[in-house]
């Protein structure tokens, strides 16, 4: 039951991260500041989002409710 809840939270976060990518928060048109370690704003923020999505995928592999279901069924 807990797995299902955590999996749903992961899905919600993945959708949220994906949606904010296309908002002015990540892609303000024509704006490249604030710069982080020389990297323009849109690039460093979207890089972080990509890394977070991969981390969420990893967490998803742990909490996915069906991770052992196939082995049981087969």
């Amino acid at each position: 039951m807990k797995r299902k809840k955590y999996w749903k939270i992961c899905c919600g976060l993945a959708i949220l991260l994906s949606l904010i990518t296309f908002s002015p928060l990540i892609i303000p048109q024509g704006v490249h500041e604030p710069i982080l370690m020389g990297v323009p704003y849109t690039l460093w923020t979207s890089f972080i989002i990509t890394v977070l999505l991969v981390i969420l995928t990893y967490i998803g592999t742990i909490v996915h409710p069906g991770v052992h279901k196939e082995e049981k069924d087969l």
């Binding site: 892609i27 890394v51 991969v54 969420l56 995928t57 592999t61």
Partner: protein, 473 residues
């Protein structure tokens, strides 16, 4: 350079021959030939998925895309890939549960069985055929252009294309999907190594990341933000691209097959995570190559940029590696796509297995010839043509998801609607139907209309008793 091309070329061809022979097994079954025995482990799984995904589109197309459109290109591919690997967890679970113990005979066959209607399989196959073949063609062409630049006056472009198709057919015929997966592993690693060597060289040209963006900002400030100097990377374009890339594992059969043939659910899950990390590692150096192009080749054409950045500016052995890496990138993707079309065809055929396999192999040969013809006649930008290919197949996603997820008896209306969506999209490509309606791209309108229709059809469907999967003897 020629010396190094021979050295790396011989090693590469040797490894391909080794992969084919290792996979060859006398008296193998059709399932072993087409589906690699459905027993692919983690490392092979990651590398084959990555090699099928990252092609000349990534190797050549992405540096050029960064060079022309700037940093927003990261969102176009990397963020979309990050979300795609998460989706693999969700979709992979459902399709593997749906396939169960049955023999997987391609998505077309599975859809025909899910809907109890052969037209579902035909429509899916049609979209895969229409949109994968031109993409395969342009990749073969990309390699041929590159080889022509490296060895002018040796072979005409079509000669290179024909040679590539010949190699592809030979090793897939000898070893089947297993040979393709083994060679993908070699090619995936090669791609990663080569792109980093060239990317590091390009980064060292600037002396670091901060000086690189500083210099690019001086040349063209618009490259440091969206929508880029060409105005292409608008939120709507990026979102529409995100949707179609997200749908790749659902609608492009070469990826769906790779999800299904993984050894277990857990291996498939770990493959998804590793693929995400691999995607970041592969796309990152393409920024450096693109920014190098901004500094040195800002106003030149695509072919001149490729020839200079990948060949003439590199030490001889790196240029030779780039040639072999590019062949590897293109060959693995085209091979995966052509072979997947063969698997899809197999799923639609009826009769005894021997005749089906013969027809499938003839089909693979014919698909290769058609792709070869396209490689000679099609002219377009790699990235934008790839995007059209992803869009065309993505329109099938609502039909695929409804068929696989629904336990209800649903109306076949979604099959007709998907076919209509495909026709409208083709008409928009031909300029007969407008590509933008009320300020919204037609691909987005079609995708959301089909998705909404799938939801409505699901709720109108009748509850069905649980069907026990057939035993596969």
């Amino acid at each position: 350079m020629i010396f190094w091309v021979w050295v790396f070329g011989i090693i590469y061809v040797g490894l391909l021959i080794f992969a084919s022979l290792k996979s060859y097994k006398k008296g193998r079954t059709a399932e072993e030939f087409m589906m690699a025995g459905s027993n692919v482990g983690l490392i092979l799984g990651v590398l084959t998925f990555a090699a099928a995904l990252f092609s000349t589109f990534t190797f050549l197309g992405m540096p050029d895309f960064f060079r022309i459109n700037g940093v927003g290109a990261w969102i176009f591919l990397a963020v979309s890939d990050g979300a795609m690997v998460f989706l693999i967890l969700w979709f992979g679970y459902h399709i593997r549960m749906r396939v169960g113990k049955k023999e997987f005979r391609g998505v077309s066959g599975l859809l025909s069985s899910c809907y109890g209607n052969k037209w579902a399989g035909y429509v899916f196959f049609l979209s895969a055929f229409l949109f994968l073949i031109p993409y395969v063609g342009i990749q073969i062409q990309g390699i041929a252009i590159f080889m022509n630049a490296a060895f002018p006056d040796s072979l005409p472009a079509w000669g290179w294309s024909a040679a590539i198709v010949f190699i592809m057919l030979v090793y897939s015929e000898i070893g089947g999907l297993k040979a393709i997966i083994f060679s993908d592993a070699i090619q995936g690693l090669l791609l990663l190594v080569v792109i980093w060597i060239i990317g590091s060289f390009c980064l060292s040209h600037f002396g670091g990341i901060a000086p690189m963006f500083e210099r690019v900002g001086e040349i063209k400030e618009g490259l440091l933000s969206t929508p880029g100097p060409e105005g292409l990377l608008t939120p709507q374009f990026l979102f529409a691209s995100f949707i179609v890339i997200l749908m790749i594992p659902i609608t492009q059969p070469q990826f769906t097959t790779r999800i299904v043939v993984m050894k277990s659910m857990k291996t498939m899950h770990l493959m998804a995570v590793s693929l995400g990390a691999f995607a970041i590692l592969v796309i990152l150096p393409t920024i450096f190559i693109g920014m190098y192009g901004v500094d040195k080749y800002t106003n030149v054409g695509r072919d001149e940029f490729f020839a200079n950045a990948f060949l003439h500016d590199q030490p001889n052995f790196v240029a030779a590696l780039a040639i072999i890496g590019l062949i590897a990138a293109g060959l693995s993707t085209t091979n995966a796509q052509i072979f997947a079309l063969g698997s899809e065809l197999r799923g639609l055929l009826k009769g005894d297995e021997k005749t089906i396999m013969l027809k499938t192999k003839i089909g693979i040969f014919i698909f290769s010839l058609i792709a070869l013809c396209f490689s000679v006649i099609v002219i377009d930008q790699l990235v934008l043509l790839a995007r059209v290919s992803f869009t065309g197949t993505a329109l099938m996603a609502p039909m695929v998801c409804l068929g696989i997820l629904s336990k209800r008896k649903v109306s076949p209306a979604i099959i007709v609607l998907s076919f209509l969506g495909l026709v409208i999209f083709l008409l928009s490509l031909a300029g007969i139907v407008p590509s933008v309606l009320a300020g919204i791209r037609i691909d987005l309108i079609l995708f959301f209309t089909l998705s909404l229709s799938a939801v409505v059809i699901y709720f109108l469907g009748k509850e069905e008793k649980q069907v026990i999967p057939m035993q596969n003897n």
